[in-house]
């Protein structure tokens, strides 16, 4: 078994950051930021990278705030070789199962507490995170999703645009999402996007169907998805509603978004507080 690669040994950092090697397609490599003063009962946070696959950069950016709350942060790395379409979660290589295997492994060896984690994702990571939580609602306590390129909507369009039948493997994925809609929505879900992330770029997925339903850019798509999920929550008589936060002054850039308040959305000051029903859109959190 390859050893962990220690990255941060600064005594003042308040945490230790290591890169743990993976085990091929079964278990991805993972960055682990362990607080030197762990808080009892604090839920672990898992953060999923975007298509640039900068898991280490995301972990390093959020680790100080997680450590200040006594929380373990993990950032798995879905490599292009092993998980080329990890964003879909229910892809052929089943990136969702790989994350479950990783979480179980880390819990078994004591690196994280057993039970549900908080999950966050940026860009392609937000795609993964919302589909993962939808498929495995018992494994995620709180969800933060930012700047997804496109979303799965609670309607009959073929998966992954919706939870209708699709040719994508596994064929039953859409059925899982349909059954789990209530369980998925019955949690705190925070959606975020940069105010300037309002124009398609070369990585923005585009098709007539996606553009017509979801809009041309990530800002529009985040708004429409949040509205659709809030409507679904209302239809299911759920007390919680997903919230949308538009981050001022930033485009499609994780670090700029983090500086603009995404870090506080992912790691709020009261991390385990119950969600309050709020307006469907708000500006940067205080």
């Amino acid at each position: 078994m390859p050893r962990d690669l220690a990255v941060t040994e600064d005594p003042a950092a308040g945490f230790d950051l290591v890169l743990r090697p993976g085990r091929g397609r079964r278990q991805p490599p993972v960055w682990i930021a362990s607080p030197r003063r762990p808080a009892t009962g604090a839920r672990p946070l898992a953060v999923i990278h975007g298509i640039s696959r900068d898991a280490g950069g995301i972990a390093a950016r959020l680790a100080p705030r997680a450590a200040a709350q006594g929380r373990v942060l993990i950032a798995p790395l879905f490599t292009a070789e092993d998980f080329p379409r990890y964003q879909r979660a229910a892809c052929g290589r089943r990136s969702d199962r790989a994350l479950l295997t990783l979480l179980d492994w880390l819990a078994a060896e004591g690196s994280i507490a057993p039970g549900a984690v908080d999950l966050a994702g940026y860009s392609g990571g937000a795609q993964f995170a919302h589909r993962f939580t939808w498929m495995h609602p018992n494994r995620v306590a709180r969800l933060t999703v930012a700047a997804a390129g496109w979303w799965t909507f609670p309607e009959a369009a073929p998966f992954p645009r919706g939870f209708g039948p699709a040719d994508a493997a596994p064929a039953e994925a859409a059925r899982w999402l349909r059954a789990n809609l209530r369980a998925f929505l019955d949690r705190e879900i925070a959606v975020a996007v940069g105010r300037l992330d309002d124009a398609p770029d070369r990585t923005t997925r585009s098709s007539p169907e996606i553009d017509a339903r979801q809009g041309p850019d990530r800002l529009t798509r985040a708004r429409r998805w949040t509205l659709a999920m809030r409507a679904a929550a209302l239809r299911l008589a759920l007390p919680r509603r997903p919230t949308l936060t538009v981050l001022p002054g930033c485009g499609h850039d994780f670090h700029a978004c983090a500086d603009a308040g995404l870090d506080r959305l992912i790691l709020p000051d009261a991390p385990c507080a119950a969600a309050r029903p709020e307006a469907s859109e708000r500006r940067t959190p205080a």
Binding site: P137, N138, E172, W176, L177, A179, L181, R182, A183, L236
Partner: protein, 351 residues
């Protein structure tokens, strides 16, 4: 005053809850034994059952002359024996490998004659009371249930019910749900409980926990009562979900009574395990008569992709293989459906 040779005997799996030190003497009136009573017997002739499941779960080869302590009880097994839990002084039969004694009423043509025993007596305590399983039932828990109860019922013996139940337990555990594996009817066997535990069940038990040797010819209210106890224990163990296996086939008397009676109300959703596509269709019709529409089909038929396609095309039902049941994503979806059914809340599931 230990006057009986029970210390040298092989104590069968059916007696696993018994405090052996209570057995201090023997009552020779074996004909008085009733289902659930313990009987000490000597192996006279090895037949169909060549091994005995011990209280530990291990198998022990049987030899002529072995002393065995087992429970008297009825047996229903269409692929093996039908037997009655009565003991004749001149001899009795081993009806099940888990340790069930009685006499054979019928047997499957492919099965050898049963292992034959000479009953020596009923173990009794210092007060002269015959030891019986119900005396060792686990104390009754508070009347609670796990939030989600999923039943597994099948077309018959060896239709793949235990495999389906264990796979679903595995999927639910992987989905982050603390899950119990329970067997509500049938004959106690270590293999079933071991399969549940191996799949990750936080609590695995059968009706023996409530003092029953088997459930054949046991009145339906008593079976439901035992299930309530098991569900209560599961809830006390912190289980959020329970997978409940119902033994044998839909036409088995206790299974049919369970499905048509209040027992079915304990179950929030059903998996139906069938041996082939036609028995899948027939079983769905039988279940429909009791108002049950299973969430999914599974069982032995799913080992054949062709049979799966046949069953899916003919029934329109969701046919789930062992691997799919063990997958946390569809397992979580089944759990969501059960919760929606229980709460009477709107479901997004397609018709």
């Amino acid at each position: 005053m230990i006057t009986i040779p029970t210390l040298q005997a092989k104590w069968a799996f059916s007696t696993r809850r018994v405090a052996r030190a209570d057995a201090v003497a023997l009552d020779r009136d074996v004909a008085a034994a009733r289902p659930g009573d313990l009987v000490l017997a000597r192996i006279e002739r090895i037949g169909s059952h060549k091994r005995l499941q011990l209280a530990s779960g291990a198998h022990s080869d049987l030899w002529e002359g072995d002393l065995v302590v087992a429970a008297c009880g009825d047996r229903y097994a269409a692929d093996q024996f039908e037997g009655r839990g009565e003991i004749a002084p001149e001899g009795c039969d081993l009806l099940a490998g888990g340790g069930l004694l009685g006499w054979i009423e019928s047997r499957h043509a492919r099965v050898s004659p049963p292992t034959r025993l000479v009953p020596l007596g009923r173990p009794i305590d210092r007060e002269g009371v015959a030891l019986s399983l119900d005396r060792y039932a686990r104390p009754r828990p508070a009347p609670r249930r796990p939030a989600a109860v999923i039943g597994v019922v099948g077309s018959g013996m060896n239709a793949g019910k235990t495999t389906a139940a264990a796979a679903l337990i595995r999927g639910l555990v992987a989905a982050g749900v603390r899950t119990a594996g329970l067997k509500a009817t049938g004959t106690g066997a270590f293999g079933d409980l071991q399969a549940y535990e191996a799949a990750g069940a936080a609590y695995a038990a059968d009706f023996a926990e409530d003092g029953l040797a088997s459930t054949y010819r046991i009145p339906a209210p008593r079976i439901v009562d035992a299930l309530d106890a098991l569900l209560g224990h599961a809830a006390a163990e912190g289980c959020e979900a329970a997978v409940v296996e119902i033994a044998d086939g839909l036409l088995q008397p206790e299974t049919a009574a369970f499905l048509a009676g209040p027992g079915a109300a304990r179950v929030g959703g059903w998996i139906y395990a069938a041996g082939d596509a036609l028995s899948a269709l027939g079983g769905l019709e039988v279940l429909a008569r009791t108002g049950i529409r299973p969430m999914a089909l599974s069982g032995l038929l799913t080992r054949s992709p062709l049979a799966m396609r046949e069953a899916e095309a003919a029934s329109g039902a969701w046919v789930m293989s062992r691997d799919e049941l063990a997958d946390p994503a569809p397992a979580a979806a089944l759990l969501s459906e059960v919760r929606a059914l229980r709460e009477g809340t709107p479901s997004e599931r397609a018709a």
